[in-house]
């Protein structure tokens, strides 16, 4: 592909300058507003920084990290977060792609359908969480009466440690997939229609077209979508905060929720920063791994 050809030539000075100038504004802003703050967090994690007592801050070495190794709830939250990521990523991605393919057509009224599919995404998560708490209510929630009418249930949903996280997965995928739908949709636009036409003439079925034209055509965008869902899934906080408070029995406690609670509600910024550091390193490793894997696949395909 193009990238390979480019690699063979040497970048001209003019091109180098242009490239650097193009990335410079973004780099400077990211450096100031994300990287420096992250370095500060890194610094806090070796102190006993209490948000209400900034003057009493002292260097405590690895104390926070030692404490983390004994923090059973933190360990649980890591497990929960991974569980959430593993469940939500394929679900949300599949739903996003499915919706995108459903609405990638020019029939009458498609605008209304697009808007309908996107509706949960424009509402704030807070509102969506409140509504779903009503829906999930074991006594009179819509879901139990719906399932009850076909003879299933009743379930306790958010009130059962075994099902609570799953309920949040469903809600999150449902709420979030509108974004993925939009991105997939813009990716679908880039697949030339004549490819489908040619395939259809060759007698390829819909499924074969999907497998051999749609999927490869979406490759670049899919890498992005997978990564974006993974990243946002790792940062799960609002839904458990609004709906379960991390319970029952810590079954929906997530890492970022703990970081928030420790750093902002319990004022233990130093300890919360240590959690943030561990979290970031963990996700970074996974991202690198994922990147290695996907680029390995890329190589193979070339």
């Amino acid at each position: 592909m193009g990238a390979k050809k480019k690699g063979q030539k040497k970048a001209s000075l003019k091109e180098s300058q242009a490239g650097l100038a193009f990335v410079a504004p973004a780099m400077i802003l990211l450096f100031i507003f994300l990287f420096i703050p992250f370095l500060m967090t890194l610094g806090y994690s070796f102190t006993n920084y209490n948000i209400l007592k900034p003057d009493a801050t002292e260097f405590v070495g690895l104390k926070n990290f030692v404490k983390l190794t004994k923090d059973t709830v933190f360990h649980k939250s890591i497990l929960n977060t991974f569980l959430f990521v593993i469940m939500v990523v394929p679900l949300q991605m599949g739903m996003g792609l499915g919706l995108a393919m459903l609405i990638n057509r020019k029939t009458k009224g498609i605008t209304a359908y697009r808007m309908a599919f996107f509706a949960p995404t424009v509402l704030s998560l807070v509102v969506v969480s409140i509504l779903w708490s009503f829906i999930y209510n074991p006594n009179n929630g819509l879901l139990n009466s719906l399932l009850g009418s076909v003879g299933i249930g009743p379930f306790k949903f958010l009130n059962d440690p075994h099902t609570a996280m799953f309920c949040i997965v469903v809600l999150s995928a449902w709420q979030g997939c509108g974004f993925q739908m939009m991105v997939f949709l813009s990716g679908l636009q880039d697949i030339p229609e004549h490819l489908y036409e040619a395939a259809a003439l060759d007698g390829a079925t819909r499924f074969q077209q999907f497998l051999h034209i749609t999927i490869p055509g979406l490759k670049n965008i899919t890498t992005f979508i997978a990564l974006s869902i993974v990243v946002s899934a790792f940062q799960l906080i609002v839904q458990p905060m609004m709906m379960t408070g991390g319970g029952p029995q810590n079954s929906t406690m997530t890492i970022v929720y703990m970081i928030y609670q420790t750093g902002f509600k319990y004022n233990q910024t130093g300890y919360g920063s240590a959690m943030a550091l561990v979290f970031t390193v963990m996700v970074l490793l996974i991202t690198i791994l994922q990147n290695r894997l996907t680029s390995a696949v890329d190589e193979e395909e070339r």
């Binding site: 490239g19 973004a26 509504l131 009466s145 636009q189 880039d190 670049n220 750093g263």
Partner: protein, 281 residues
């Protein structure tokens, strides 16, 4: 997609679309239906299908009247639209240029920069909020929209999205322009930007929704109630016990309108893509 659809297929397609649409629409419908009810009606209906059907009282818009009287919703919506518009305009330029360079221009340390972008992408906002505020404070940008705009301009996620999009555009597109001796800026703006319209539309919508619903950061930066953003204005509806859900639903319905309007305006860019590649019905 390509074959001419029979009538039966068409009906089936609409049926599927409608069922799925209902599955995704219901909170919006609930919100709007509830905005015409008082609390007794909202909670009385909650466990039945009536929850999605408005009940019109003597004065159907009473919740709207009360919420508009209570909150400076319109002015705060205007503030939000203004600073988000500035942010998105600049953010589209900054992020897409970076994404373009990372995809199509050869320059030194590119790999390192790409890795750095992937790395900062995963930093959860909650963990850097406090130091971020310290920086805004030291830059004397508190109580100014600049404090809301600056941190939101560069976004690793969008850079990455643009990069992926530009990677997929065939090399042949720029060859001719390069032979003509066109500079990178011209190639970018004349050739690549128009080809990536759907992605620009997507990022606009993504960023608008995120910033429109943002609450904690604006509260920290903006102190002056005259400058408050839409979620700041809305928040007082939730604070006072007992929460009046009729007011809440009316308020939420009002603030959802701009997002829907934006979506409707931008979604035509998705259709344009199909048309330009010569698709037919």
């Amino acid at each position: 997609m390509v074959k001419k659809q029979t009538k039966g297929q068409k009906i089936r397609a609409y049926l599927i679309l409608t069922v799925v649409a209902l599955l995704f629409m219901f909170p919006l419908v609930w919100m709007i239906a509830s905005s015409f009810k008082n609390d007794a009606q909202i909670f009385g209906d909650i466990s039945s299908i009536r929850a999605f059907w408005p009940t019109f009282n003597k004065e159907p818009f009473f919740n709207y009247k009360s919420v508009v009287a209570k909150l400076p919703l319109l002015s705060s919506m205007l503030h939000s639209i203004l600073y988000i518009f500035v942010t998105i305009t600049l953010s589209l330029i900054i992020n897409s240029m970076a994404g373009y360079a990372l995809a199509r221009i050869r320059f030194p340390k590119k790999k390192l920069i790409m890795t750095a972008i992937l790395a900062v992408m995963i930093i959860p906002t909650q963990t850097v909020m406090l130091p971020q505020f310290s920086i805004i404070y030291k830059l004397h940008c508190t109580n100014s929209y600049l404090g809301l705009i600056l941190p939101a301009l560069a976004n690793p996620m969008y850079i990455y999205l643009f990069r992926q999009q530009f990677l997929g555009i065939p090399e042949s597109i720029e060859e001719a322009a390069k032979l003509d001796g066109a500079g990178q800026l011209r190639i970018f703006f004349q050739l690549f930007v128009p080809l990536a319209k759907p992605i620009y539309a997507t990022v606009t919508i993504l960023q608008f929704v995120l910033m429109w619903n943002d609450f904690v950061w604006p509260v920290m930066v903006i102190s002056d109630t005259k400058k408050q953003t839409v979620q700041m204005a809305l928040s007082s509806l939730f604070n006072i016990k007992p929460v009046n859900y009729g007011d809440v639903m009316a308020g939420l319905t009002i603030v959802t309108i701009p997002v829907l309007v934006l979506f409707l305006t931008l979604q035509k860019y998705y259709v344009a893509g199909i048309a330009s590649t010569g698709a037919k019905d």
